[in-house]
């Protein structure tokens, strides 16, 4: 009779998925208000175009030996831009290495982005979002930082939120889970977004975990988890904004899985043709986020060829200007490697600094 003597269902969990904008550009009736606002949509569209343009430029620079290894976000612009648009300027962003769309939205400049990928530390000294974290290359570590940032924000009684992003692969890391568990246990104002682009370099999403969705990983931490169409910038923005609002209201964290597709190689150092079929990639092109929003803009908001042209020109100019500034960047002096290591260089290291001072090669 008692709970202890009979099998009993003691907990039940649902995972929901949402999307508003179909691959064909049709908007669902359930779409949020902002999705009916031409200005809002145009801003999202522009940001995705700009992200794509930056990626193209960066890849071109890399191919011609003028940039380091680069991770394009081709096909995933809606994830990144949706996050950027959902966040308030006062929130804190903790990106992985494929979220330039959100970084640009939040005020990281094209030059700064290129400087980073060009191999200059100062690319992470953003003039804009000063509290945002730099790109996190070690997969998953950013989630723990986000929990710490969220703890700081909530301890100060601010209604700001920490938003961290990682890939499908990052959900296999202990750091992801430990941090998620802290967010739950301490009810921290943090939103973890997964850009599930189906691949972690050559490892398929299905080989990364047996979990049917990545969103359900939230259940392990007692948090809500949701899946959204990661090629639908409206859905991403709406889901992330709602999660931010809940977190800011003291209701704790959320895990959001954005289902996207990595249309590019993993990075410029990768050759995806070694491990995946062209057919899969071609099929995925029909889902990509930029075209579907354009088609919707054209159909529902009379988006014109002229407007499109103007945008493209403006963006091209902006990216080109950024690229030129990047290419003209002054080198850092070798001593820079000592000058930000500690608040004040310990006397014990002075001789090492002196060794590289003046000389190019120490």
């Amino acid at each position: 009779m008692s709970r202890r003597t009979e099998g009993e269902r003691i907990a039940q969990f649902d995972i929901w998925s949402r999307g508003y904008l179909s691959p064909e550009g049709d908007l669902s009736d359930a779409a949020p208000d902002f999705a009916h606002d031409r200005g809002e949509l145009v801003a999202l569209y522009r940001a995705m175009l700009k992200t794509r343009a930056l990626d193209e430029k960066a890849v071109a620079l890399q191919r011609t030996g003028r940039l380091g290894t680069y991770a394009s976000s081709l096909g995933q612009e809606a994830v990144s831009v949706g996050i950027g648009a959902a966040m308030r300027p006062t929130d804190v962003f903790l990106p992985s290495f494929r979220e330039q769309g959100a970084q640009l939205w939040r005020g990281v400049t094209v030059v700064e982005a290129l400087l980073y990928w060009g191999g200059y530390e100062r690319g992470s000294n953003f003039s804009g979002p000063r509290e945002d974290f730099p790109i996190c290359v070690t997969v998953g570590a950013q989630f723990a930082h986000a929990a710490g940032v969220a703890c700081a924000l909530s301890m100060r009684g601010e209604d700001r939120v920490a938003v961290a992003v990682g890939g499908d692969g990052s959900t296999s890391k202990g750091d992801f889970y430990e941090a998620l568990n802290f967010v739950g246990a301490w009810k921290l104002p943090a939103v973890f977004v997964i850009n599930n682009n189906q691949w972690a370099i050559s490892v398929r999403r299905g080989d990364q975990t047996a979990a049917a969705t990545l969103a359900q990983k939230a259940i392990a931490a007692g948090l809500p988890g949701e899946q959204v169409d990661g090629c639908d910038v409206i859905a991403v923005r709406a889901a992330v904004a709602e999660a931010i609002a809940r977190a800011a209201a003291g209701e704790g964290g959320t895990l959001i899985e954005c289902v996207s597709y990595r249309l590019s190689d993993h990075t410029t150092a990768d050759d995806a043709s070694r491990y995946r079929d062209d057919a899969e990639v071609s099929a995925a092109w029909s889902l990509e986020p930029v075209r579907r929003l354009r088609e919707h803009l054209v159909a529902a908001h009379g988006w014109t060829k002229d407007e499109e042209e103007t945008f493209r020109t403006e963006i091209r100019d902006e990216i080109e200007a950024g690229a030129e500034a990047y290419l003209a960047a002054e080198p850092d002096p070798p001593t820079a490697m000592f000058d930000y290591l500690y608040a004040e260089l310990p006397a014990a290291l002075a001789w090492q600094r002196a060794m590289v001072d003046g000389g190019e090669d120490g």
């Binding site: 804190v92 530390e121 100062r122 992470s124 000294n125 953003f126 000063r130 509290e131 974290f133 730099p134 070690t138 570590a141 989630f143 723990a144 930082h145 986000a146 929990a147 710490g148 940032v149 969220a150 703890c151 700081a152 924000l153 301890m155 920490a162 202990g174 750091d175 430990e178 941090a179 568990n181 802290f182 246990a185 301490w186 820079a336 490697m337 930000y340 290591l341 500690y342 608040a343 310990p346 006397a347 014990a348 290291l349």
Partner: protein
Amino acid sequence: MAEITMVDAVRLALGRALEEDPNVLILGEDVGIDGGVFRATDGLVQRFGAARVRDTPLAESAIAGIAVGLAAQGFRPVAEIQFSGFIYPAIDQVASHAGRLRNRTRGRLTCPMVIRAPFGGGIHAPEHHSESLEALFAHIPGIRVVLPSSPARAYGLLLAAIRDPDPVIFLEPKRIYRAVTEAVADDGKALPLDRAFTLREGADVTLVTWGAMVKESLEAADALAEEGVAAEVIDLATLKPYDAEAVLGSVRRTGRCLIVHEAARTAGFGAEIAARIAEEALAELVAPVRRVTGFDTVMPMPKLEHAYMPSTERILEAAREVMAWA
């Protein structure tokens, strides 16, 4: 001015830091109501509340990573890892993030955090409770590594570590947590983070050591004095950066050096000291530099622990040997 033990001094410094700076906070497993398994945080949650003295879930990597996030936001987290043997999972966050955040962002974000951990053997603890890992951290750029060896030094160095604008690994030699008491004024005075402490002067041989081995080193110096040998005993106290001048200056006077540590010998921090002497005080050496250290073995379980730990006797033997050189 009360006579207190080293663990009392740690607690005193933590309380002081929490009092003087609202951004200081403490986190770790069992640091709250339990007061830490060694009672280093005893009473703090009652004084400062559960928001500033935080029990964490059992997850060392996240503890370190969360400290990074807090520090980047201007807090000064003092994280406790319950025993240094459980610090390995935190190394990634320390080496890849804490030690790099300032450099990586060219000073935009900084990482004023402390990780405290009791370290070392000799208390008959279970497996993994007796490790000495200072050398691992001393090799990692962008951080500081500090090891007190007395109540007064624990107090002053911990205050300095907490106030320091960069990440500090603070390793507490738990074998001597309660070995001696000392009058420590709670005056808020920090000690420098790059100065060794000469605990005893002597012209014949230099003993460089840190942590709990300070005890055996001083005992050895006493015994040597009876044999007519004047040993200088230096507590290095900060390993990264370390006070090479103090060591080199002493060795230049004595011409002989023993380095004593509990950690495994190979690639232990003793090697760094010996290497530095071989680079910069070679001409003044009259005897080989000797390391008296733990063996290159797994720290044995309690029954053989005593055979692993460098003993006063082993130090004495090595000292007699270097004294035999002309």
